[in-house]
């Protein structure tokens, strides 16, 4: 599904990712953990194609295709979805209209007709129920005045609508109370199939109780320094990150 080979990326001349390797197969859930400033969000942005980041070395392959030259939206059309740590408020555009535009733009890129309004409404209804989103909420301006939990639920709702191959959840647990966390995790789990993959980026182990990863990677100083199974996350929760830092130094 996704193969990242020796990626180096910098922003404003400062190198953040320093030779990162990662391989994610279809059907897998990977967790990427690490201390603040390790490069977790940078990794998410680089995969999504954010233009502020310059990839100086290495490749990112999606289903064997190098996506380095693709624009942000083209990557989205190929099935990459990034759930934002801080979803952006867009006053004046309702959730529904935003979703219609996103879906139809993606369909247009694939040479498909626009989705009939009836199907769109049906899909919106189903997916909003999955995330326990009130219908009234859908006519509000996107993310404007949403609580932290509402924003994150809305991110996963969009993921459900767009049905990506590879979903990257960037700190989706931050700002969530336990009920919202459960709803969000439940949504992600229901969307999981053998054909798609999820990368969960998180600082804490908490979310991984609900979205159970097949692999856990520790990102430190722009590289993956340790990989393991879900037990690694528990160990990190217990011992913090300092021992990893020490181990790397040693």
């Amino acid at each position: 599904m996704l193969e990242i080979k020796d990626i180096h990326a910098s922003v404003e001349g400062k190198e953040i990712l320093k030779g990162l390797n990662l391989k994610v197969n279809a059907g897998e859930v990977h967790a990427i953990m690490g201390p603040n400033g390790a490069g977790k969000s940078t990794l998410a942005s680089v995969i999504a194609g954010k233009e502020d980041y310059e990839v100086t070395q290495g490749n990112i392959l999606l289903e064997g295709e190098d996506i380095e030259e693709l624009a942000i939206e083209e990557r989205a059309h190929k099935g990459i979805f990034l759930s934002f740590q801080y979803p952006v408020e867009i006053p004046g555009v309702s959730v529904t209209n935003f979703m219609k535009t996103a879906i139809n733009e993606t369909r247009k890129a694939k040479g498909l007709e626009e989705m009939p309004a009836k199907d769109m409404l049906k899909m919106i209804r189903e997916k909003s129920e999955l995330l326990e989103i009130d219908r009234k909420f859908l006519s509000r301006s996107l993310n404007e005045g949403f609580s932290g939990g509402e924003k994150k639920r809305n991110e996963i709702f969009q993921m459900a609508m767009l049905e990506p191959k590879l979903a990257i959840l960037d700190e989706t647990d931050s700002g969530l109370d336990i009920d919202a966390l459960r709803i969000v995790a439940n949504g992600v789990n229901k969307l999981k199939t053998k054909e798609n993959a999820v990368i969960v980026i998180t600082h804490y182990q908490r979310l991984l109780d609900y979205i159970v990863p097949d692999f856990v990677h520790v990102l430190h100083n722009g590289k993956i320094v340790k990989s393991g199974t879900k037990e690694l996350a528990l160990e990190l929760e217990e011992k913090g990150y300092d021992w990893i830092k020490e181990e790397v130094k040693g």
Partner: protein, 437 residues
């Protein structure tokens, strides 16, 4: 010959075409003298600091309406709001086109200024209202001097105009360069309601200069909604002088959609003459290339307990220049005034310019007045967010611009007009967004 001299010396010839023994003609004669003294405004005047007419005035305009030019409806249909029933007052090169118009005298008068100025039936209204609120500056005086044709609308007491009224001015380009000076009078009596849509459209790229004057009188509790669509060709310039006098508890809104043309100047003046009045001034400006749009607004609060709301949005690309000058005067007597003004702008290019200037003169001490002006670029983080969801860059930008202008669009009360403006914006932004915001 300079345009000013040509105009002044043509006044005699003009007098041969009209009845000079009328009270209106005394007004015209006074006006031509004022124009002769004041001439056209120059950039030295504070009010014209950012808008130069120099290049517009250099053409050798033909200054009288051109007779005999016909247009087929099918060729200009797209400039009408044609999916609803409306009254229409249509002019071709300054001459009334009965063929394209649909007027009425049934309960309300929707007809021609030329009839109103000459027919005894309208004398009382003309005596009461003609040139009573228009200012005496050079451009307005010039229009007054040559005032002969335009729209005349009178909604008598307790009447609801049963459909919107469209006023359209076409110029066919049969002249190398043409100057037009329509004069409109709109009188809305007590408890009456009317909706008006106005458009000036040049059908070729020959230079056109329109110096238009509209006087609107809204009596007690009258409601007037006026929409101006300005989306003209690159060599068409428009100076729109609109003067509105409102009596107690009337509500008048003017929406100005400025999407194109060469130089567009909107002098929009509201004079409140009673209590409990609401004046609404909304605008969306989206221009590019070297287009120039200048909104010069005045709201004069003279009595207590009145409101005014101004909301102007501007999007400027390439070398386009915009001006917003919003003046609010609150007299000492006008206590409890609520006056709001907001002017928000997006610059899409390094070479685009906006000059935004609020001017508040407040002499009352118990008022709420606010003004705000912003100038910015499109939000990069919002663009990244939208593109990451699969929305192309161009469409994402357009969506943000739509959203930016949306609250002004939302206040358009005629759905078909709103959807037309929506389409104009989409065309302007070169996108096909599959929904109406």
């Amino acid at each position: 010959m300079e345009l000013k001299d040509k105009l002044v010396s043509s006044f005699l010839a003009f007098e041969n075409t009209i009845d000079v023994d009328s009270s209106v003609h005394d007004i015209r004669s006074e006006a031509i003298k004022r124009f002769e003294m004041q001439g056209f405004p120059s950039k030295k005047e504070e009010a014209w600091k950012y808008t130069s007419l120099k290049n517009v005035l250099k053409h050798d305009y033909s200054i009288f309406p051109k007779e005999g030019n016909a247009i087929e409806f099918k060729d200009v249909k797209k400039y009408f709001i044609h999916d609803i029933d409306t009254y229409k007052i249509v002019f071709i090169d300054g001459m009334y086109s009965s063929h394209l118009s649909e007027t009425t005298h049934d309960k309300i008068d929707v007809c021609l200024m030329s009839s109103a100025l000459t027919n005894d039936k309208y004398k009382a209204v003309i005596d009461n209202y003609f040139n009573k609120v228009a200012k005496e500056d050079g451009l307005t005086s010039l229009n007054t001097a040559f005032s002969k044709e335009g729209a005349y609308i009178h909604i008598s007491k307790n009447q609801l105009a049963d459909k919107p009224i469209q006023i359209l001015h076409f110029s066919t380009g049969s002249e190398a360069a043409q100057m037009l000076q329509p004069r409109n009078l709109i009188v809305v009596d007590e408890n009456s309601h009317v909706q008006i849509i106005e458009r000036h459209q040049s059908l070729t790229n020959n230079p056109v200069l329109t110096n238009s004057v509209t006087e609107i009188f809204a009596d007690k509790r009258a409601i007037v909604d006026y929409y101006k669509i300005q989306n003209d060709n690159e060599n068409a310039s428009l100076i729109d002088n609109t003067y509105i006098e409102q009596q107690g508890q009337s509500i008048v809104s003017v929406h100005t959609f400025a999407f194109g043309g060469n130089i567009t100047r909107n002098n929009l003046n509201f004079y409140q003459k009673g209590e409990g009045i609401d004046s609404i001034l909304n605008g969306i400006t989206i221009i590019e290339e070297k287009q120039h749009v200048d909104h010069y607004t005045l709201v004069h609060h003279t009595e207590p307990n009145c409101e005014s709301h101004q909301d102007y949005k501007g999007i400027f690309d390439e070398k386009a220049t915009g001006v917003f000058n919003g003046k609010i005067i609150v007299n000492k007597e006008a206590q409890k005034t609520n006056a709001f003004q907001s002017n928000n702008n997006i610059l899409l290019s390094d070479k685009a310019t906006i000059n935004s200037k609020p001017q508040l003169e407040i002499f009352a001490d118990d008022v709420k007045c606010s003004h705000g002006c912003t100038i910015g670029q499109l939000d990069d983080s919002a663009l990244f967010y939208m593109r990451a969801r699969g929305i192309g860059e161009k469409e994402a930008k357009a969506l943000l611009m739509y959203a930016f202008a949306n609250n002004v669009l939302e206040s358009v009360k005629i759905p078909q007009l709103k959807s037309r403006i929506n389409k104009l914006i989409a065309t302007k932004l070169n996108v096909d967004i599959g929904f109406d915001l």
